[in-house]
Each structure stands twice: as C-alpha cells, then as structure tokens.
C-alpha cells in the first residue's frame, strides 16, 4: 500500500519563487526615496531641474568667476564700469571682504589698540569652550571666569582710559566685536532678569505680579526698533540735564530689556510645567521661597525649557543687527558702511558683503541651535 496517493501530499515540486526584491543598495534606496510613485518621480525630476538651474550658476558666481585678490574696485568692475573685468562679467568680490576683513571684525577701533579686543575675544573663547563641553569639571569656577572675570577684563580693556590704556570711545567700536559684545551682555542680563520677571509674574503679591505682567506684555507687544528708539531718544529726556548715557550703553539697555521679556515668558512656561507637588513638597520641608525656587523648582523648570531659552538667545543674536538702524556699526552696519567706500564701490560689492555677513550670522545661530539640540539629548538621556 506504499504507492497509494494521499490527496494531501504533493506530487510535484513547487516552482522556485522569484528572488525577493532587493531591500538594500543604491537602487533600492533610489526607488524608495526618490521614485516611489509617479508623483514622487515628477517631484524629484522637477527639483533636480530647479537645482540644476540654480546651483551651477551660484557656484560659478560665488567661486569660479569670483575676484579673490585685488587692491581696489578695478578687479570687481567691468571695463565699462571702469574696471578690468570683461563686459558682462559678474562674480563675487571676495577681494573686498579680504581687504575689509579687519574692519568687519573690529570696526573703526584704532589699529595699534586692536590687540585689546583680540585679547578679550581669545579669553572669551578660552573660557567658553570648557564651559560648553560637559565632561570638563569645575563648571562653577568656569562660570565665574566667564560671567564675572571676563566682563571686568572687557570693561577695563575695551574702552580703556585707565592703567595707561588710551581711551577708545564706543563710537569707534564696530563689526563682529559689537555684535558679540551686545549679544553676550544681552544673554548674561536677560536670563537672570527673565527668571526674576517670570517669578514675579507668578508671585502671590498682586502689585509685583501686575508690574511684571505689564512690563512683559508691553515689551513683547512692540517691535524691538521702537524699544531701541525709546532707549536712544527718550532715555536722555528722562535724565537730569548734563547726565548722558553712552550710545552703546543705551543700545545695550534696550536689547537686554527686550530679550528679558521674551525670556520671562519662556521661563514661565517651564515653571508652569512643574507639577504642584514639587512646590508643595518644598513647602512641607520648610524651605524658604528662594530656597524652594533655587533648589527645587528652577533646576527642573530651566532644564525643560532649554530649547526655548536657546531660541531666545538666537533671536537676541539676530536682533543685535537692528542697532545699525540707530546709527551703530555692528557687523551688518559696518558691512553696509563699506558699500559707500568709493575705493570699492561696484555692482557686486553689496551682494558679496551681505553674503559674507549672512554667513557669519548663520554660522553663530546654527552653531547655537545645534549645541542646544546636543544638550537636550544629553539631559534627556540622563533622565532615563
């Protein structure tokens, strides 16, 4: 009976099924990410065409046709414009940035005194870098160096006028130095002031609460430029005759107050996210108000809102460019001032200068946002 066929036993071999679709490699990647559907394919082709239309001319303009060296506008102007380039030429004028680079960094700070801002800048980097790397210990000491020692050194060195240093008035300051100084002070002032304002807005005392709310809402409701106008036009009116504020200081006050109002709202968001049990726990331990805030609430609240705080910093850094409207020469202001230099005026100079300034701003802001992302992930990990 061994030859009897059971209906459930197969009599023939199964055909070999086709090999599985390749799920790795360049072709699969292309098919999945660029040509998944007809619509996708169309979008991909359109974007590639747009890129092909935009990128090669941009590279041509920025690098290949660019004038890299030269001592005057001649290298960046065509023959009919009084230069040495052939008709129809257009390219970036990096020679202009090259020649003016020192001015873009230091403004019109006297040449023989430029070691002073340079030294402050080097110290800033030296104090800042270990602060930013989480593994390096002694953060407290480092913070004192950065937020106490560095400002004192800067106040001594930058304006001068004592210890035999020649006095350099702030009207001569300019360039990246002013941008960085404004942002550093803005950041250093706005964070503590913002925390105080946020605590005030959540305070039980009605008068304090109302004052903080009114300040925050008014400042957040108006554009920075009106705050700067106020600082530069109305502050002198408020002071007695003869007392004058430095223009730089006025801009500093305006920028710092503006940033603190935004910071206050960010911090308030963090304070609201802390569960009530934390406040009550601190109260039941008998901690005073400031102990409760410093030891229990703020460390948790600030950690929650790091992205918001860094976004405010980035906003502040970008907003410092507005001081060029009230007649100060920050990086953007000094670049624009140099457009009018007859030695360099040409059709491509403004675009080149602005691209350079934009790149510098971008580098700082992008760096800050990347660092904040890194910190966020680090703190997130430590919580798990």
């Amino acid at each position: 009976m061994s030859t009897q066929q059971a209906s459930f036993v197969r009599a023939s071999m199964i055909e070999a099924s086709p090999a599985p679709v390749l799920e790795s490699g360049a072709v699969f990647w292309l098919r999945k990410n660029l040509f998944a559907t007809p619509k996708d394919t169309a979008l991909t082709i359109i974007s590639l065409l747009v890129l092909a239309w935009l990128v090669p001319p941009a590279i041509q303009w920025l690098f290949i046709d660019a004038a890299w060296t030269g001592g005057g506008r001649g290298v960046c102007a065509t023959l009919s414009q009084g230069g040495s380039q052939p008709e129809g030429w257009s390219g970036a004028c990096w020679a202009f940035v090259n020649a003016k680079f020192d001015q873009f960094v230091f403004g019109r700070y006297p040449l023989e005194e430029r070691w002073r801002p340079a030294l402050v800048g080097i110290l800033f980097v030296l104090f800042l870098v270990p602060m930013l790397i989480p593994k390096i210990p002694n953060k407290g000491f480092n913070a004192i160096l950065l937020f106490v020692a560095l400002p004192i050194i800067a106040i001594i060195l930058l304006p001068g006028g004592w210890f035999g240093l020649t006095y350099v008035e702030t009207a001569l300051w300019g360039g990246l130095m002013v941008t960085l100084a404004l942002s550093f002070v803005g950041i250093a002032v706005s964070l503590p002031l913002g925390i105080l304002l946020a605590l005030g807005r959540r305070s039980d005392m009605p008068v304090i609460k109302m004052l903080c709310t009114v300040f925050i809402e008014i400042v957040r409701g108006v554009p920075l430029i009106t705050v700067l106008f106020m600082a530069s036009v109305m502050l002198p009116l408020f002071l007695p005759q003869g007392v004058t504020f430095d223009k730089f200081l006025r801009a500093l006050i305006g920028v710092s107050l503006f940033a603190s109002a935004y910071m206050a709202e960010v911090v308030r968001g963090g304070l609201q996210a802390i569960p009530k049990g934390q406040y009550e726990g601190a109260d039941s331990l008998g901690l005073s108000y400031w102990q409760k805030m410093n030891l229990i609430v703020l460390p948790q609240a600030l950690k929650l809102v790091i992205p918001g705080i860094v976004n405010t910093f980035i906003g502040l850094f970008k907003d410092t460019s507005l001081v060029s409207i009230i007649g100060m020469f920050d990086l953007l202001g000094i670049v624009r001032l140099n457009f009018t230099d007859t030695n360099w005026a040409s059709a491509v100079t403004p675009l080149t200068g602005l691209i350079f300034a934009g790149f510098v701003f971008w580098l700082f802001c992008f760096g800050m946002s990347r660092y904040s992302g890194f910190m966020e992930r680090l703190l997130d990990k430590s919580q798990r």
Partner: protein
C-alpha cells in the same frame, strides 16, 4: 482645607513675631516696591518736564494737525507734503498693514509648502525644505531685507531697459510695474455677484453640515462653493459686457509710463518678511502634523476611510488645533518685523513716526502712538487666539 484655614492664624500667633508672618512681609515688600517706583516716576517726570521746557518743546498732540512738509514715497491714500502729521501717521499705518497682510499671505503659502515638504517621503524634497528652513531661520531679517534691497533689486537694469515679464509686467531698479485694472461701468454688478456667491457658499456649507448630521451623507461643499464663487461673478462679468480695461505700462525712452508701480522698498521688505517668516511657519506646520498621533490615521484607515479623506477629516483638523496658536504669534512677529521698513525707507508707521520725531522733537507723543498702535494690534491678535482656542479646544464628553 478646613485644617489649613484653622491652622494658619495659630501658627503666625505661635511664632510670636510679626516679622515672620508671610502676609505682613508680602505687604511690606509691595509697599517698598510701590514707593521706589513712585519716587522713580516722579524723578523721571520732573526731569522730562525740565528737559522739555529747556528744549522749548510744547507737549501734547497738537502737532498732529500741523503741516507735515515731507513727502511719502508710496501711499494707498492721497498724501502730499501739505497734509498734516496726523494724516502722515495714518498713511504709515496703512502701509504697515499693507506689507503685513501681503507678507502674511505669502509667508503662509510658502511656509505650508515647505513644512509639508519636510515631511515628504521624497528624500530630495525633504532635504531641500530642511535647507530652506535652516538657512532663513538663522539669518537676521534685516540682513535679508538688505539682501533684496541692495544686493538684488538695486543692481537690476534701469527703468529704460526694464526686464519684461509675462502679462505686461516690467521689473527694473525702480520696482515692479504691472498693468492696473480700471473697472468700467457695470463692474459693480460683478462685485455684487461675488458677494452673493460668498453668502450662498456659507448657506451651502450649513446645509451640508445639517444634511450630514441628519443622514450621514456628504455633500461636495468645496466644489459647489468654488463653482459659485468663481462662476457667478464670471457669468455676471461676461453678461455685463466685460467692463474692465487695463492701464498697461509702456517702456518709454527714459522711464516706464502707465500701470501701477510697486517700489523696491516695498518689494524688498515684502520678500524678506515672507521668506524669513515662512521658515518659522514651516517648522510650526511640521510640528503640528507630527503632533497628531499615528493611531489617529491608523484608526481612520481601519474604519475604511480613504487616504485623502483621512488627511482632510482626521489629520488636518487636529493638526490645525496645534498649528493655529503659534501661527498667530508668527503673524504678529511679521507685523512687528515690518517696522524694519525704516532701514530701507519704506514709509511704514515707524519710519513716518521717526521722521516726525526728528522734525518736531515730540518724542514722547510719537513713541506713545507707536506703543498704542502695536499694543492694540497684539491685543486684538491675542483676543482672536483666545476665541479660537476656546472654539477649537477638545470637547470631552
């Protein structure tokens, strides 16, 4: 609660000293704050009055009705140098609104396209959108304005060799010239038809909702409304004999004549604000769509709702709830950033106010007008936001 109430006075009694009573302390701190503030304000007011007297500036808003004596580059309402300061400020305010509204529309369109692009499965679209966001988010808006103003628009050819664009538009370093429509006789009917169509669309939408509630059947509201809003005015327009002519710009020997011209100041401000704010709107849109949990779309698929309807009926309404509040504050930011107009000389509220401030020295009055206008704008926005939030908040049963 009862325990807390009875215990509180006992404790303050037992500690004996009134200094340690938190309520007394609170009143004390507040009193000190008020006194310091009052002294400070008195000092400031005193100094200000003294300074104003010395500079011979009469305070008050009387200057608003005196002759301005300056001209405004671009204005929607008539203005000449003989007009008053008050009218100049109105012109500035209208200009602020103009650039804000046009900027908001463009920024929203670009922002939504880029935001959705960032979530695209298409690698190249996602990366391009990411690059757009990272570039424009990290550059000061003022720099973008100058980029357009002195980097791009000012090196365009002069008006006599203006570049011709489609639809009889010309672009030159004097700005964009485009045909100006001149409504003829009877065009009022077209406007009327448009208004009727809008009203009818609302009624259709209401009817459709009632029908769906009652029977569960859906009515194609969108197509009906589109047909009404486009069709009805179009038919009226053609029936009344197409009463519309265009004032077309013509390239003359030295300049373009005719048509409407938008100056480079407005163009650069408008382009910069749109591109800059769009980067932020894109991030908001992305966060909003990502914020709708995946279970929602999976549940919709499980119910057999088709993908397009899932997007429209399940994802978008929930995403909008997340998107709208930050979006409104971006609109407000754009409006406030329009004050950067002063940098390129577009006559907005701040630029006009600045000119008046320099001419008359009425700094307190001008600044107070700025404050009132911008604060009321932001107050109106936050009122709208509260209303919207209340309407859109999750109704839990």
């Amino acid at each position: 609660m009862a325990i807390g109430v009875t215990n509180a006075p006992e404790r303050s009694k037992s500690s004996g000293s009134i200094i340690n009573d938190p309520q007394v302390r609170g009143i004390f701190y507040q009193a000190i704050t008020v006194i310091i503030l009052a002294v400070l304000i008195y000092w400031i007011v005193d100094n200000t009055i003294e300074n104003l007297r010395r500079a011979n500036i009469a305070s008050g808003y009387g200057f608003l009705s005196s002759r301005a004596g300056f001209d405004v580059g671009q204005s929607l309402i008539s203005f000449s140098s003989d007009s008053t300061y008050g009218r100049a400020l109105v012109v500035g305010f209208v200009n602020t609104l103009l650039v804000a509204i046009t900027g908001i529309i463009t920024a929203t369109v670009i922002g939504f396209i880029v935001g959705i692009g960032r979530l695209s499965h298409n690698w190249i679209i996602a990366k391009l959108s990411l690059a757009y966001v990272e570039v424009f988010r990290n550059i000061p808006p003022l720099l973008v304005i100058f980029f357009w103003y002195s980097g791009v628009l000012s090196i365009l050819p002069q008006a006599r060799d203006a570049l011709a664009l489609p639809f009889d538009m010309y672009v030159s370093n004097r700005g964009l010239a485009f045909p100006r429509p001149i409504p003829g006789e009877g065009s009022l009917y077209t406007l009327l038809a448009f208004l009727i169509a809008v009203a009818a669309s609302f009624l259709v939408a209401r009817y459709a909702r009632q029908k769906q509630m009652a029977t569960g059947q859906r009515f194609p509201v969108l197509w009906t409304a589109l047909g009404l809003i486009i069709g009805l005015p179009l038919v009226t327009f053609l029936a009344t004999g197409a009463p519309l002519t265009f004032d077309v710009p013509v390239a003359g020997k030295f300049n373009l004549t005719g048509g409407s011209v938008v100056g480079p100041e407005f163009m650069s401000l408008f382009l910069a604000l749109s591109f800059y704010t769009a980067a932020f709107i894109a991030e908001i849109v992305r966060a909003g769509i990502r914020g709708v949990s995946k279970g929602q779309s999976e549940a919709a698929h499980a119910l057999g709702i088709r993908p397009r309807l899932t997007t429209r009926l399940v994802i978008v309404p929930q995403a909008m709830r997340i998107i709208i509040p930050p979006l409104t504050s971006q609109y407000l930011n754009l409006t406030k950033n329009s004050s950067l107009a002063v940098a390129v000389g577009y006559a907005d509220l701040v630029a006009v106010g600045g000119t008046i401030l320099n001419q008359t020295g009425q700094s307190i009055e001008v600044v107070s007008i700025w404050l009132i206008v911008y604060l009321s704008l932001s107050l109106a926005t936050s009122l709208f936001m509260n209303w919207y939030n209340a309407r859109m908040a999750l109704v839990e049963r």
